[in-house]
Every structure is written in structure tokens, then in C-alpha cells.
């Protein structure tokens, strides 16, 4: 008799633990630049994704399935990124990946994920080249294309009264794409010209030659489409070579790229780039953004690095799409996530936003349509997997700090 009770208790325990484990964990990957040119940006962006994972699991997971994030370093290198993507796809068998950051790395990773039918959502790759990618609709991004950032940069340069502008750009998909977008928009204004477009290679010891070329013809301003470490060298070398014109920066230079450093002396005196302007894909000034920043700072410390909100939103839409697939009785695969992505992210449907996962999952379970409005914007995907609309923020260097001063709605 005693034996039977013990057996029953054991069976009960086993049964309970089985039902707890029964909801198998859903693993998604993250391809991030923890080292390399974008190394300074990687960790806060990973933290943005982690925040979403924690909140989803706090809301009971994806309809009971805990969500797990597997982070891989791409070293901001297309080859390393491709290998990391292969590992995530083949070894970890993830149905979806958040990443990569650099457009060139995202393109390389997509050569693995597209044939494997894995969803790839980049939170930071802004190159216009990703739009027309022949991707079987498996590649998305939660950041606006540089076709839009270039337009805002051009408008900014016009407002600031610059007539002749030189561009130094990192010689990859991102740099080249933004350079072309900027030039096209800027030269569409009367009497405005781009007098030099100078590509540069990453991680070189010095950029004196490139800087000298950009300084030729006395431009009113030089636009730096650079990565943080390289850009910092270029700023210093330009000033040391006697450059006295204005500086203009793209998103790649926001944060660590410009302040503090030699260009921003520690003695409190204004440095040579004091008052310089830049742009980046921004978050709209909505209540949820403020709440996100508060929660993020409490957990990971404050940051001025862009794209942590986009990473959060990428994880959020993947989780919601997976939930909708489960609710419809489909297995969670790259294909079903892809097919449900627009249904949860775009209108119509009841609006759910930052940290409303419990509500969103309940609605999905009840078979209702939802429309996720994210921290970085409305997060509505167009037919190319790009953001249908977004916000570009304008920032400024003030006292060696990056200050966000305005938001431009695009398109």
C-alpha cells in the first residue's frame, strides 16, 4: 500500500514536471558585433534584445513556451558572420535570428538563412541594398532604410547652410548606400554639391590620405559615414591637418564615435567637434520609449548607442508571430514566423505595445488580430520587409555629450 502511494507520488511529480517541460523552449538566435568595428555598439543592442526576452518570459513565455536567445559574435566581419549564422541555423536550429548589425554582415548571413528558410530581422542594417534583396521574404529589418536617413542628412546640411560637402564613407554596403542616398538628395537642392566621396577601409592605423582627399576644395562640411573607432581617428587627423570646417555625422558615429576622446578634451574646453550635428534612426517621443529607457537603464545602465529599441522590437515581433503560429496549430518554423509576421506587426488589429506581451498573447490565443506598435516606431513591414515608416533623429554634440534635438518623420 505504502509502495503504491510512493509510486503515485512519483508518477504525479513526473507528470507535473513533464507538463512544465512540455512546453518546449523556443530558441532564437542573435548575430551581434561584440568585437570589430561596431564592437562598441554590440552590447547595448544585445541588452535591448535581452530585455524583450525577459519580459516575454515574465509574461509566461510564448503561449507557455519559454523563449531563449542565443547570442553569437560576428566580429563585424562578413565571413565570421556567415559562419555564426550557419552555426545558429544548423547546430542550434533556430527558426529566426535577430541581426546582424553591419549591412555587409547581414548580407553575408542572409546567404545562409534564406536557403535554410530562417527569418532574419536586422535591428541596425540600414543599407538601401537590403531592400531589393531576392530573399523569398525571409529578410526583414526593424530599422528604416538609409534611403530615408540620407534624405534627412541632406535636409540637415541644407538647413545648416552648407553648400559644398565632402563625404568620407566606410567602404561597405552601409557606407556606400548612405553616401549615394545623401548625394542624390543633397544635389537635388539648388547650388548644393558633394565635392568629394572618399571610401575608406576599416581598422587601418591611420587615415591621413583619405582625410586629405576629403579636405580638398575647402568643403563647408565633411560628412563622416564611419564606424566609431575609425571615425575618431579621422576626426583627429582632420583637425591636426588644419581642417577648420564643419563636421556632420551619420548614425555610425553616434555615441562612442564622437565623445569623449581626443576630439573632446577632458579639460572641459569645447573640442573641435563641439556643436556638430548628426542623424540616426530614432525612437518616436512616445510614452513607451520613455518607459523603455527607464527600464533599460535600471537593468543595464543608460546608453546613447542607437538600435537597442530596434533590437527589442525585432524580438517582440518574432515572439508574437511564433505565438500566432502556435495558436493556429502550426509548428514554429522560419516559414510560419515569416507568414505570421505582418499579421501581428501591421494593422489592422488591436494595438499592443511595449511590455504588453501578456495581453498580446491572450488576444492571439483568443484568435483576435493584433497590431504591434514598438518602442522604435509603429513597426509596420512593407512588401520588402522594410519599415513602411519611421523616425530619423537629429542629434548634436554639446559639452562632449550626444544630445537628441529633433525628430524627422519619414517618408
Amino acid at each position: 500500500m505504502k509502495k503504491v502511494v510512493v509510486l503515485m507520488a512519483v508518477a504525479l511529480l513526473v507528470g507535473l514536471s513533464v507538463s512544465a517541460l512540455g512546453a518546449e523552449a523556443i530558441k532564437i538566435g542573435a548575430l551581434m558585433s561584440l568585437t570589430g568595428s561596431l564592437g562598441p555598439y554590440g552590447p547595448p543592442i544585445v541588452d535591448g534584445a535581452k530585455l524583450a526576452v525577459e519580459q516575454i518570459n515574465a509574461a509566461g513565455g510564448i503561449l507557455g513556451h519559454p523563449l531563449k536567445l542565443i547570442v553569437m559574435d560576428t566580429a563585424t566581419n562578413p565571413d565570421v558572420g556567415r559562419d555564426a549564422a550557419r552555426k545558429l541555423v544548423e547546430l542550434n536550429q533556430v527558426p529566426a535570428i535577430v541581426g546582424a548589425l553591419s549591412s555587409g554582415v547581414t548580407l553575408a548571413a542572409s546567404s545562409v538563412t534564406i536557403p535554410a528558410g530562417v527569418v532574419l530581422i536586422s535591428p541596425a542594417s540600414t543599407s538601401p541594398g537590403l531592400t531589393a534583396l531576392n530573399d523569398n521574404d525571409y529578410v526583414f529589418r526593424t530599422v528604416v532604410s538609409d534611403a530615408m536617413q540620407g534624405g534627412v542628412l541632406a535636409r540637415l546640411a541644407l538647413l545648416l547652410g552648407y553648400k559644398k560637402v565632402s563625404v568620407i564613407y566606410v567602404n561597405n554596403a552601409y557606407g556606400k548606400g548612405l553616401d549615394i542616398a545623401f548625394k542624390k538628395s543633397f544635389e537635388a537642392f539648388p547650388n548644393r554639391s558633394v565635392i568629394a566621396e572618399v571610401p575608406y577601409e576599416e581598422n587601418k592605423a591611420s587615415y591621413r590620405g583619405e582625410v586629405a582627399k576629403a579636405m580638398e576644395g575647402d568643403p563647408d562640411a565633411i560628412l563622416f559615414i564611419s564606424y566609431p573607432v575609425d571615425g575618431n581617428k579621422q576626426i583627429v587627423e582632420a583637425v591636426e591637418a588644419g581642417y577648420t570646417g564643419h563636421f556632420l555625422f551619420s548614425d555610425g558615429m553616434k555615441g562612442e564615435g564622437v565623445a569623449p576622446g581626443p576630439a573632446c578634451p577632458a579639460n572641459g574646453k569645447p573640442g573641435p567637434i563641439e556643436g556638430a550635428f548628426g542623424t540616426a534612426a530614432g525612437a518616436p517621443q512616445v510614452a513607451v520609449a520613455a518607459q523603455f529607457n527607464k527600464d533599460f537603464a535600471a537593468k543595464f545602465g543608460p546608453t546613447s548607442v542607437p538600435y537597442n529599441t530596434q533590437a527589442y522590437d525585432a524580438v517582440a515581433v518574432i515572439a508574437l508571430a511564433a505565438a500566432r503560429a502556435i495558436a493556429n496549430g502550426q509548428p514554429v518554423t522560419g516559414e510560419t514566423i515569416r507568414d505570421n509576421l505582418r499579421a501581428v506587426a501591421n494593422p489592422p488589429g488591436e494595438v499592443v505595445t511595449y511590455n504588453e506581451f501578456a495581453k498580446a498573447f491572450a488576444l492571439i490565443k483568443a484568435g483576435k488580430d493584433i497590431n504591434y506598435e514598438g518602442v522604435s516606431g509603429p513597426v509596420d513591414f512593407d512588401k520588402d520587409g522594410d519599415m513602411a515608416q519611421g523616425v530619423i533623429e537629429v542629434w548634436k554634440i554639446q559639452g562632449c555629450h550626444v544630445i537628441n534635438i529633433a525628430l524627422a518623420k519619414v517618408p
Binding site: 568585437t35 592605423a205 591611420s206 590620405g209 576644395g217 583637425v239 588644419g242 581626443p262 578634451p265
Partner: protein, 307 residues
Amino acid sequence: MSAITQIPQLLVYGIVSGSILALGGIGVSLTYSILGFSNFAHGDIMALGAYIGLGLLGLFTAVGLADTPLGPLSFGPGFILAMVLAAGLTAAAMIIIDRLLFRKLRHAGPIILMMASIGLALGLRNVIQFFWGPQPHYYIARIQVAVPIPGIDARIKSDEVFIIVLAIVLVAGVHAFLRYTKMGKAMRAMADNAALARVTGINTDRVIAWTWVIGGGLAAVAGILAGVENKFITPQLGWQMLLSIFAGVILGGIGNPYGAIIGCVIIGISEEVSTAFISTGYKPAVAFVIMILMLLVRPTGILGRKA
């Protein structure tokens, strides 16, 4: 500004970069002639020196040694002291490494020694990366605006004048050492014919030790000056310069330290001036092309003797 009007400025950059390469080239040349192998670790010895200097500089700042800039330069007495000490420590490190590694291989062929030096290069670079990480470090966090040079259309920084002058002084010092001291003469004798030198009673172990002291010390100074010029250093600092240095040494006549100095300055200038006409990405290729042409036309180099 067209390509032609850029040339004076590029010449200035070239002379600065050539001066730094030359200080590295002397060590490569001496190791080749006295120890009989191409030392692929020389670039990383330069990086080691630069990082030791960085560590000492941090130490001096931590103990509160005032580092007010000297005159128009962007660094102070603490930096000079760090550079001298780093040169000494790097020389000492090279003697220890010679004891642990190269001494055991003294009678192995040049290929084995070369392979050992490649191993040492990887080892040194990873030791540096272990302690300081792969990210760049600021060497000097002060901005120094270049001033126009009277007469020509070019600008130069006071730090660059310092680099050129220091390189000239050190080269003159090496020349005096090789010409007029007993050890210098012994080194030249051993470079000419090691067996004969030993027979005539020259202490070859001491000559080898001095070779490492001079080569290592100058490499450290070269690494530190590269840090001054570029403001940042990374563990790849020396490895990136090694190809240019080898090209310079071969161009000047391998095994001849004077040839190495001339060759390295020529390579430095050619690399910089080439950027007026072709993309800056081809800088290392320029060094390589010059080296190949020299090997085809005159394999012994500018100052090399006919074998």
C-alpha cells in the same frame, strides 16, 4: 588640390613614416646578418615596446607624475622616461626570449629559426591582446594642429619633427656604435664571417646579446613613435608595418643596416606619395611591388654586395 599639389604634404608624411620604419629596419637587418635569419617577430617586438610604454605611461599618471607637455610637443617628461624605460625593458625581454628560444636553435637552419620567429610573433601578439585587449588604446589624447612649413605647401606637427629628429639621432648613434666601438666592430666582423670571428676570439654570445639589445630597443622606440604619430595603438601595430620594413630592408640590401635605413625611408615615402595617384588601400601593395622590382633588377639591394 590636384594630385601634384598634394605631393609636398605626402612627402612629409612619407619621411615621418620612413623614419619609424627605419628604426624597425635596423633590428631586422642586424638579426639577419648576425643571427642569420629573417625575424618575423620584429613587428610584434615593436608592438610589445609600444604596449610596455603605454603601461609605464599609465603607471606614471597613476602615481601622479605631472605630464605637462614639453614646449610645442603633445607629451611631457613622463612620456620620454616611459619611452627610455620601455626600450630598456624590451631589450631585456629580447635577451630572455633569446635564451629561452633562439639559443636552443642556434645551429638549426635559417628556415627553422624563421619558423620559430613566426611562432614568437603570434605568441607576443596574443600576450599583448591578453593583457590589453584587442581594442585600440589612445597613446596620446591631445590634439596637435599641424603648422605650415615655410616655403613649401605642406604642414607638419611638432610631434612629427620630434620623430624625425629622434630617428636621425638614433641612426647616428647606431652608426657611431658600429664604426667606433669595439663591440660594434665585433658585430660587423661577425656579420661578415661568424666562424672567422669566433676563431679570432670574439665573444659571439655577447655580440648576439648586443644585437638583441640594439634591435629590441630601437624596435620599442619605433613602436612608441608609431603610437605618437597615429594616436592609437592596436596589437596589430607591428605586424601591419612588418611587410613595409622587410621591403625596405631588402631594397637597401639585406644584412646591411645602412641599406636598411635608406630602403625603409624610400619605402615610407613611396607608400605615402602613391596615395596621390592610387587608392590608399594599395599602400602595402606599393611596398611589395617595389621589393619585387628590386629583386628582379638588383637582387643584392642598393647597398648590398655581390654574393
